[in-house]
């Protein structure tokens, strides 16, 4: 017995139109009596996919944070390379940029709320504000990296500095991708490609944006504040 339904005398070749592939007419089975029943969860596949991605991204940042914690004091005791990131932290400066990123989550959720109500102009304004706040955060990170480098903390100076730059750099890349998505979203809303009927698209990008915010909440506390 084979699993292939198109075998035996019941399968018949349909005469193909000119230039078309020959088609096989399958015999009618008991399964043809059932129509395709859609899933009954009534949940959005796109949203579920984003949540699954965010769950998996926890593993990426978990790896980077734990690697930093394990290696943060691993540098020569003296001489070149003895400097570590924690010696150079400017907590007031980082606190302000953390606050800016935190507030960008507020403007993001206001953008989602606005598009759900059909207030497109307000949605565009909040999207741009969110992107601008993300850009301020990235500018702060670039400034921080530059000042650390000038102090002598290069990426390859020690395994500790490599772990620090890799962790915060990966987060910065996530924020930068978020900014690109927000600007793209703004263009799509501006051109009418995304309207109130597709508010979920904004919500899904918002989920990503909030995720980079919560990752920073952890990095700020674990890397910067806890001695």
């Amino acid at each position: 017995m084979t699993d292939t339904p198109a075998t035996g005398s019941t399968a018949a070749a349909v005469e193909p139109a000119e230039g078309d592939e020959p088609q096989i007419a399958y015999p009618r089975t008991e399964w043809d009596d059932y129509e395709i029943i859609p899933p009954t969860t009534s949940l959005s596949n796109e949203k579920l996919t984003m949540w699954t991605f965010l769950g998996s991204d926890c593993l990426l940042f978990g790896a980077l944070i734990s690697t930093y914690l394990l290696l943060r004091n691993r540098q020569p005791l003296s001489g070149e390379g003895s400097l570590k990131a924690a010696d150079l932290f400017d907590i007031p400066f980082t606190s302000v940029s953390s606050f800016v990123l935190l507030m960008s989550s507020l403007t993001m959720v206001l953008a989602v709320s606005a598009i759900a109500r059909g207030e497109m102009e307000r949605c565009k304004l909040w999207l741009l504000t969110t992107a601008a706040q993300g850009a301020v955060f990235i500018a702060g990170q670039v400034y921080e990296f530059t000042s650390f480098y000038r102090e002598g903390l290069g990426y390859t100076v020690s395994i500790s500095s490599s772990a620090f730059y890799t962790l915060t750099g990966f987060h910065g890349v996530h924020v930068s991708l978020g900014i690109i998505m927000l600007v793209t979203l703004w263009v799509m809303v501006n051109r009418g490609i995304i309207g109130p009927e597709r508010a979920e698209t904004v919500e899904i990008i918002g989920l990503y944006w909030h995720f980079v915010d919560i990752v920073w909440i952890v990095i700020f506390a674990v890397v910067y504040l806890i001695p």
């Binding site: 991204d57 394990l70 935190l102 993001m108 506390a221 674990v222």
Partner: protein, 125 residues
């Protein structure tokens, strides 16, 4: 056949209606209040860093971090108002990450030597 399909469609319709009726979050003013709370918690974190609070500093910072994390996930990401399936997908990844890296930290004696995994600090890195 058609009766089964109709019943299924009706069930979906009812489910969608129930979904639509579900509270999808706060008002704009509610979100602003949540953001203000997050700002206050961040200020408390920075205060804990600068003021010498002795043994409560690290637990205090960790508690504030967890509270801020939960507030953003629950309210800004709507997880509190959304389907439990989303919560399971996210919390599943989070718990897995914490378990894996806690096991890694344990195997590298991180907890007994929180200064780092390197137990011989004179090692030239």
């Amino acid at each position: 056949m058609s009766t089964a399909t109709e019943a299924a469609s009706e069930e979906i319709h009812e489910s969608e209606e129930a979904h639509d009726d579900h509270d999808h979050g706060l008002s704009d003013f509610g979100y602003i209040k949540v953001a203000l709370l997050l700002g206050v918690l961040t200020a408390a974190e920075v205060l804990l860093y600068f003021v010498d609070t002795g043994p409560i500093e690290v637990p205090g910072l960790l508690i504030l971090m967890v509270v801020k994390f939960w507030i953003v996930v629950a309210y800004f990401m709507h997880l509190r108002f959304d389907s439990k399936l989303f919560t399971w997908m996210f919390v599943g990844g989070l718990v897995l990450a914490i378990a894996v890296y806690a096991a890694m930290g344990t195997s590298m004696l991180f907890w007994t030597d929180p200064a780092g995994c390197d137990l011989s600090p004179n090692l030239d890195c």
